[in-house]
Each structure stands twice: as structure tokens, then as C-alpha cells.
């Protein structure tokens, strides 16, 4: 066992961190604000990252990456997530849409879709959830009819982040065979978002207007060469993709940064000696520490070539509940003015904690709810019997 990054890895972290400190402006608070500078900024930053070879460093050399170790990838995720993910929507391309294309795509699809991702030029969104298919994702009903050289798609997707950014492409999950058992009749399509018949409607949320969208699909034509993987075998891709996604975000890194902000705030406010504040923040720190180590355990398994399905769910249980706890305790320490938002001159810590609490209300839902994670741990990890 070794609980330290190597000197080379630490040097890389310093280089990346210095670059980001210089490039990420003070006003940046992530993608889902009303700030119109956000999208141009993230596009520009991704181009600079691509120039340095840092955007796709995790990708294998045959797809334009440098095959960086899983630990360097972890460092990138930590430094990015600690700064509210200045790569914007690109992290999805890098973490799992790209890898899914590499694993399941044809050579033609590789040539067509991977280079623009590697340059950080293209925005993808993910069309999975439907109004009646959330935790029970496999019950989705958006229909793709096979018309030979193309499919005709009709249905509705929901909770689609970045669709209004606007996204260029959508990784779309459809029912291609309604007579097969529900997991066996699903396909994955690569949908050009400029195709006629697509309507995007933003959903206003507690965290602002740009976090989620509904996507309506009316007689949308998708060419057959945009089918990813085998027809009716889309569920295999979902399983592979969700495993990439669960450890693909260093949620603990942002929580750790917010805890640092709160420690400074408490000291400045004369609360550094307050026994209750001390107790609360130390508790958060131990939970942050645990969440981080459990992510590192999953990454250690990936380094050996194993797929940490159950371990990723355990890590996620800790990470998402940590985020929520940090938000709650943070607002408690700030007191009544914690209600004030970014932009209000009386908002403590520039409204940062308010925003952090708000945006983490659904963190125990996204990417598989807390209950779904517990089911995975109980059934696949502990071997408990399934519900009848």
C-alpha cells in the first residue's frame, strides 16, 4: 500500500494547478449560472488544455491521447472539480462518451467523432432518462423504428444537461425492439442535435435555468451509421458507461475545497474556537477523508485492470452524502445571510455556499439514486437476494 502520489505526479499537479489558477477567472462558478461568459470561457479553456495535451491525456495514443495513468487522470479530475469543472460539459466526452465510442464504435465512427472531442470543440449531451424511466431506466419507451438505412425516433427525454448549451450531439438511448424483454430491446444512437424534429425546453430548477432540459423527438431521422454498438444491445453500453461515470467525478475534491473556505470563514468570523463549529467542521473533514480514500480504492482497482462496480457505488454513497452535509453545515455556519445569492454584496463567501447547497440537493439522485447504489451494494456486493 502507498498513500502518496509520486514526485512526478505531484509535479504534474503543481503545473496543472498553476495553469488553472492563472486561467480560471474569479467570476467562474461553474456551468449552471446565468453568466453569459461561461460557455465562451469553457470553450477557450478546453482549446488551451487540448494544445497542452491535457484534455485527452487519459485516452490511448491511437485516439490522440497520451495514455496517462489512472492516477494522473485522478489528479486532473480533482483539480478540475475543486474549481467547479472549468471544462464545462467536456468532462462527459472525456470520461465516458469518448471511451464508449472507442470501445463500441466502428473505425468510421472513431474517425468522425473522436477528433472533434479531442480538440474540445464539440458538446455532447446524454439522452437517457424519460418521464417514466428514471431509476428503472430500462423501461424507457422512446421508440426507434428500423427503416433500413435509417431509424425514425419518436419520444421524450428529460433531465438532459447541456442540451440548451446548445449541444451538438446527443448520446441517445432508444427502444428499438418493443417485443424483446426490456433490457434486450434497447439501442444507443448518436443523434445530431440539428436534425429536424428536435425541440429543447429548459427546465427551471432551484439551481437556475440552465441545469436541465426536456428534449422532444418527433419523427427524427437518424442514419444507420449513427447506431453505436449492436442493435438491441444498447444496455451493455449503459452498464459500461455508468461504471465509467461513477468514479469519473472527484466530488470529494470540491467538498474539500468548500471545507477549506469554511475553515477560513470561521476563523475570520471569530468562530475558530467555537466548540460546536469545530466539531461540525472536523466531522465534515473526516467524511471528506473517507470519501476520498474510497475513490482511491476504486482507482487502485482500475489501475490493476479491474472494474470496481460495487466499490464505485460505495464511493458514490459517501461522496454524494458528503456534498449535501457540507452544504447544510456550511449554511448553518454562515447563518441567516447564507440565504443570499451570488451577486448580492451582503452574501457571505459570494454566495458560494448557498449555490453549493442548492446544486447538491439532487446529487443523491443523479447517475443512479442513493437507493439504487445501495441496491447494487446489497445485491452485487453482499449477495443479498433480490426482491420478488
Amino acid at each position: 500500500m502507498d498513500f502518496e502520489f509520486t514526485e512526478e505526479e505531484e509535479a504534474f499537479r503543481t503545473e496543472l494547478s498553476d495553469f488553472l489558477d492563472a486561467e480560471v477567472p474569479d467570476w467562474w462558478q461553474g456551468m449552471f449560472t446565468e453568466d453569459e461568459r461561461a460557455m465562451p470561457f469553457t470553450r477557450e479553456l478546453c482549446a488551451k488544455l487540448a494544445d497542452r495535451g491535457w484534455l485527452t491525456m487519459a485516452w490511448p495514443p491511437e485516439h490522440g491521447g497520451s495514455g496517462a495513468s489512472v492516477w494522473k487522470q485522478a489528479i486532473v479530475r480533482e483539480e478540475m472539480w475543486a474549481r467547479e469543472e472549468p471544462r464545462g460539459p467536456q468532462y462527459m466526452n472525456l470520461n465516458y462518451i469518448g471511451p464508449l465510442l472507442m470501445r463500441f464504435g466502428t473505425p468510421e465512427q472513431h474517425a468522425r467523432f473522436l477528433p472533434p472531442m479531442a480538440r474540445g470543440e464539440v458538446i455532447w449531451c446524454q439522452g437517457f432518462s424519460e418521464p417514466d424511466a428514471g431509476s428503472d431506466l430500462a423501461s424507457l419507451i422512446t421508440r426507434a423504428e428500423d427503416r433500413g438505412d435509417h431509424f425514425i425516433v419518436n419520444g421524450q427525454k428529460i433531465w438532459t444537461s447541456y442540451a440548451d448549451s446548445p449541444a451538438d450531439w446527443c448520446l441517445l438511448l432508444v427502444r428499438s425492439n418493443p417485443s424483446a424483454p426490456k433490457h434486450r430491446g434497447i439501442s444507443m444512437l448518436l443523434l445530431d442535435m440539428t436534425t429536424p424534429g428536435i425541440t429543447v425546453r429548459p427546465i427551471d430548477t432551484m439551481a437556475g435555468p440552465h441545469e436541465f432540459n426536456e428534449v422532444f423527438l418527433d419523427d427524427v431521422r437518424v442514419p444507420r451509421d449513427c447506431l453505436l454498438g449492436g442493435q438491441d444491445h444498447g444496455w451493455d453500453l449503459v452498464v459500461a458507461g455508468l461504471t465509467f461515470e461513477r468514479t469519473g467525478i472527484a466530488r470529494y475534491a470540491r467538498a474539500g475545497r468548500v471545507i477549506e473556505l469554511l475553515v477560513d470563514y470561521a476563523n475570520d468570523a471569530g468562530l475558530g474556537d467555537d466548540p460546536i463549529v469545530r466539531d461540525r467542521l472536523a466531522d465534515l473533514y473526516t467524511r471528506y477523508d473517507a470519501a476520498r480514500l474510497l475513490n482511491y480504492r476504486a482507482i487502485s482497482m482500475q489501475a490493476k485492470g479491474e472494474v470496481p462496480t460495487v466499490e464505485a457505488s460505495v464511493a458514490r454513497m459517501h461522496n454524494t452524502q458528503l456534498e449535501q452535509a457540507v452544504g447544510h453545515v456550511g449554511l448553518e455556519i454562515l447563518g441567516p445571510t447564507g440565504q443570499l445569492r451570488a451577486g448580492d454584496e451582503w452574501a457571505p463567501l459570494r454566495g458560494e455556499i448557498h449555490r453549493y447547497w442548492t446544486r447538491n440537493i439532487p446529487s443523491t439522485l443523479a447517475g443512479g439514486s442513493l437507493e439504487v447504489q445501495k441496491n447494487i451494494v446489497a445485491q452485487r456486493g453482499l449477495g443479498l437476494p433480490r426482491e420478488p
Binding site: 500500500m1 502518496e4 505526479e9 471569530g270 466539531d279 460505495v314 446489497a378 443479498l384
Partner: protein, 347 residues
Amino acid sequence: MNLELSDEQRLLADTARAFVDRHADDADPWPAMRDTGWAGLLVPEEHGGSGAGMTEFVLVCEALGRGPVVSPLIPSVTAALALRWAGTPDLQDQWLPTLATGAFTGTVAVLEAGMRDEWSPAPMSGLGALTGTKVLVPWVPDVAVIVVVTSEGLRVVERSGAVRVHDHDPLCAEPHAALTFQQAPAERLGSTADSAVVLARVLDYNAVARLAYAIGAAERALELSVDHATNRHQFGRPIGTFQAVAHRCAEMRADVDACRYLAYRAAWALDHDADAAIAVTAAKSFANDAMRRVFLHAHQVHGAMGFATEHELHRYTRVAKSFELSLGGTTRHRDRLATEIGLGSRP
């Protein structure tokens, strides 16, 4: 960074598991344990030990907690650590080789009535021969050497008629005693200033060893809970098919895993002298609360049977509660951690 055990560490853990399978029900497992060399894991080779690290010792303790195998291993190794770090060459020659082979056992006497916890100042005077009473001292009848915490630092007392033993009947299965010293001859173990540093380290090592032992107990409690949830039927189905039950087990898994990696990291930090204080105190304070949650779930899943002493669950529950109550409660460790993460008064 690599959180996987090495092949040697895995082998050691497997050996310890096999030992537990064979000896968990022995009336006295110590003779068998002497042959394993574990008592000498943290004793340097020149004193007859194997000079291994805390990580190795933690793997052994974790396996023993699964039994739970009740033995003087942890207190005896803890006494050896104090002698190793603060003893004169003569004291080391006198005690370390026999402690390393397990021919003799040692213990550490810290608590006195009125002390809040092991970190509070000890009232017993260390000037001259020792007089006074230590409580909750891990004890077996043939303990040969006692490391005693006094207000003037650490002292070494050889077992003699000047030490009267009153057996406790504590929560945990490990035998403990109150020791009354009556003008007991004592040798100084390091200067007063060194003693404070050594004692803090000894307590940190002891806390991590006890934590590992509790993690073994918690892992076993989880296995028992999963067995019970799988085999116990109510309403015509295994109770583990109800999410209310299954999710308790999943939460136990998540908490035990967190405790385990916090403990491994603390052991690593002690071995590498890298931010050990923050690593130990984070592990102890997280685990204190996590053990409560784990055993709350274990008892809830087991139903009334878990309360009956004919079922084995209670043995593990006792290990965990005893761990929580020893070596600093959650509040104490969080306060220490708060300072470590930078909370304090501004000038």
C-alpha cells in the same frame, strides 16, 4: 498511490485469518499465538523481533477481531513500543526480546479514576516508588511488565507483590483489572519531556490497533447480518429482499469500508511519519461514530436474537463499544482534528 495490499501483506492477512479459524474457541490462544511471531512484529530485529510495520500489525489485529480472538497481543505490543522508543539500552535488553517472542507479556496502565480519557493528565506521582490505583488496565494473570503513565512521565514496573490486582468484569471480553500500587519500585522510561511525545505516539499506535480489531469485529457482524437477512423468512420471503433491511446492510458495507481504509492510511502514516496525527485522529473520530451505526444496523437486522447471548453478535458489539469508549471519544478527536485542519483563534 496504491490502496492494494502487497502479496506479502495479503499472505499475512490470510495466515491470520486461518489462525482465527483454528483458534477462535481456544480457552487460551496465547501459546499458539506465540509461535506466529506477531508479538515481535513491531520490535526491531536486533531485539529479537521482525521489525515489520504498523500496516502488518493492523492486518493481524483486523483478523483477530473477526474471532474475536481474546489475547494480550495488543497491550503487550503497546508496552513493547513504549520500551522501544523510550527505554534505556538496559531496559530494552531486559524486556524487548522476551516480549517479542511472547515468552512474557506486558501491558500499559494509563487510566485512573477521574481521568476523562487516556489523554488527560494522570494524577499518579512518578517521584520514587509508585503508589495509587490505575483502572481498566488490560490484564492477564501472567503479565510480567507494566508501563505506567504518571504525572512525571512513563515508568516501568516489574510485576511483584507491590501490585495488587482487582479483576474487572468489563463490557468487552478482554480481561481488565484495577491495579493498586503500594510503594512499587519503578524505573524511569525517558525524560518527562520525551515521555509526553512517546506517550502520544503509543496512544496513537494503540488506537489504530484497537480500531483494526474493531473493524474485524464489524466485518464479522456484517457477514452475520447478511446470513441472517438471507436465511430468515418473514411474510413468506427472506427479510433481505426488503429494501429496508438490504439497505441497512449496504450502509454497513459502506461504513466498514471507510473505517478500513482510514485505518490502513493511519497505519501507513505512522510507518512513514507522514501527518500521522491527522490520519489517526480522523480515523478514530470517524470510526467511533461509524461503529455505532454499523452495530445499530446489525442488531436491527438480527431482531431479538441479536440480544441473546447464545447468538454470537453480542461479542462483536462489545468489541466495538469498548473501542469507542477507549482512547478518546468522538468529541475529543474532532477537537484535535479541528486544530489540525486550521481552526483556531485569529490574533
